[in-house]
Symmetry: C2
Subunit: 328 residues, 2 copies
């Protein structure tokens, strides 16, 4: 990664570049706010956001049937509450505004301030905090519950439901039903390179780190790299222990295989092959899957695996309905 802004600034050039590329997207300079200018005001707008460096999240998910707007902050730093508030006002048309927040302390602080203020202005703001990461802290084995790649299932399913006419109450109910079903675990093959060539953690060429985060946070265990299948086994086993699928009647799942930045498609689809074979042995039926660099951590090489039980078959319809978002 050689092109970057100062780590303390909103990446204006990137956001202006996106504005110039897609006629349906408009950037509001110096706010981090990119919105869908074709947005249907008769529906409830959904917004999300966070630090930059996770592209295509969240800017690539702005578009008809997904997000009405995304608010982007500096590299790995959440947007300021004043800009989140501006985004809420920008998309509000009196039907309420639904906000999707990734579970990180700094993000929650900024989003909560903005939501509080918007509510004092009479805007009916509801929100969900995504917390799909099942990785544990290596020091105390506490679950981290960070919001990571599974968040985009919320973008897509809630966005399609909102487009179909879901009310703010109904969207909130769907979010509360869907979010706890989403489970993710990630592995790094190489660390993030921050601007000026600093790397986030040390990892030898032949090592992998299990349970990493999307901001360069180290994982819970470093191992020698022994191939895609070994990684697939570790991630599937950890997700199995957490989801406890062998005890559940419903065997239908949604699957995301996410690259964390510089993971090649050859790696992602080879890994996908290993995962699909393991899930078949487990007796699970994958009803929808998506593979790609969907929520990244700058140029980190790595993969995360997300599974979500299909509690309601409508979720699959919402996933399959076309969207105007460029990265879905």
């Amino acid at each position: 990664m050689k092109f970057y802004n100062s780590t303390n600034e909103i990446p204006e050039e990137m956001l202006k570049g996106i504005d110039l590329t897609y006629p349906q997207l408009t950037y509001l300079p110096e706010t981090g706010i990119l919105y869908d200018n074709t947005y249907n005001e008769k529906t409830v707008p959904i917004i999300s956001g966070g630090g930059s460096g996770h592209e295509p999240a969240h800017v690539g998910y702005v578009g008809s049937g997904m997000l009405a707007a995304a608010v982007t902050g500096p590299l790995f730093i959440p947007p300021k509450s004043k800009n989140i508030l501006k985004a809420i006002r920008q998309v509000n048309s009196g039907k309420g505004v639904f906000v999707i927040i990734k579970n990180f302390e700094a993000d929650l602080k900024e989003f909560n301030e903005a939501i509080k203020e918007a509510r004092t202005e009479g805007i009916d703001v509801r929100y969900i905090v995504s917390h799909d990461d099942i990785s544990v802290n290596a020091y105390n084995f506490h679950k981290r519950h960070r919001g990571v790649a599974g968040t985009i299932l919320l973008h897509k399913i809630l966005g399609a439901f909102a487009k179909e006419g879901g009310s703010i109450d109904e969207i909130e109910q769907l979010a509360l039903s869907l979010s706890p079903e989403i489970y993710t675990l990630g592995v790094a093959l190489a660390p993030v390179h921050f601007p000026h060539q600093k790397t986030s953690f040390v990892l030898a060429e032949d090592e992998v780190s299990f349970g990493i985060g999307i901001h360069g946070e180290p994982g819970y265990r470093v191992e020698k790299f022994e191939g895609s299948e070994r990684i697939a086994i570790e991630l599937v086993n950890k997700l199995k222990a957490e989801i406890n699928w062998q005890k559940k009647a419903n065997k239908n799942y949604i699957l995301l295989v996410n690259g964390l930045g510089s993971t090649t498609l050859m790696e992602l689809y080879s890994f996908q092959y290993d995962v699909m074979r393991l899930l078949e042995l487990e007796g699970l039926s994958v009803k929808f899957c998506k593979v790609g660099n969907l929520m990244t951590s700058c140029d980190m090489s790595g993969i995360s695996l997300t599974l979500c039980s299909v509690k309601d078959p409508k979720w699959l319809d919402y996933l399959n309905v076309p969207t105007g978002a460029f990265a879905w």
Copy 2:
């Protein structure tokens, strides 16, 4: 890049992983052939292919309105003629088969053998050789005319035309009219890492190499990295000298900003912003643009810029029509 096959084998796991991900795509094991099982036999099929390591090219462009099939070889090694021939037979329904070949000696050899054999079997095969690269050889300054990222404009425009009902003669005419208008130049920010950690050429962290190829071929000049804008100026100036746009009445262009593997979207869209500003200063009007890691070189970090004059406004319609290909 840590997941790979032996460099002498077709990447079976990747291709099987793609087959398992997309219901409309079918992989024929041990052939490298991935085809669209929803293909409309009343239209002329278009196929392409080449070595692997360029994903999503060409597998990601198989789908309704683009390619009927793609044939993939080992890493950076073209598929064998017998597999290309199998692919031609697979998609043939008597209306002729159109083949898009990237201009590399090894590719031409295999594709030509297959085409010759298919013709002896009575299949009306036509082809185009894409040669959009304007980079020069650093030793003799000869143009290389390699087939690189601009090739996917052929996939999309010809594919959409074929879907609309274009005959094999008409597709050939369109290809001959379109191909010479496509110009590409690329730059590396970091070298390719081949399996077992070998790198293709030496490039310091603060250097860029102009005019690189998509198989680790070095460029014509190495410079200190001085930012996205400096690279945009070099690429736009070289394309200007080649296309000679200031002397032409038609100012309408198609633009591709292609990442070569591990280039982040933050880098690509920041670069896109610089390019769009320069083209505006040049008086050009960009009528269609696409940004992404579209034709890669494994995990190389780098960017290529493609420009194509809009000789016929129908080309824009063909670019904008939806396709079932997962990577467009």
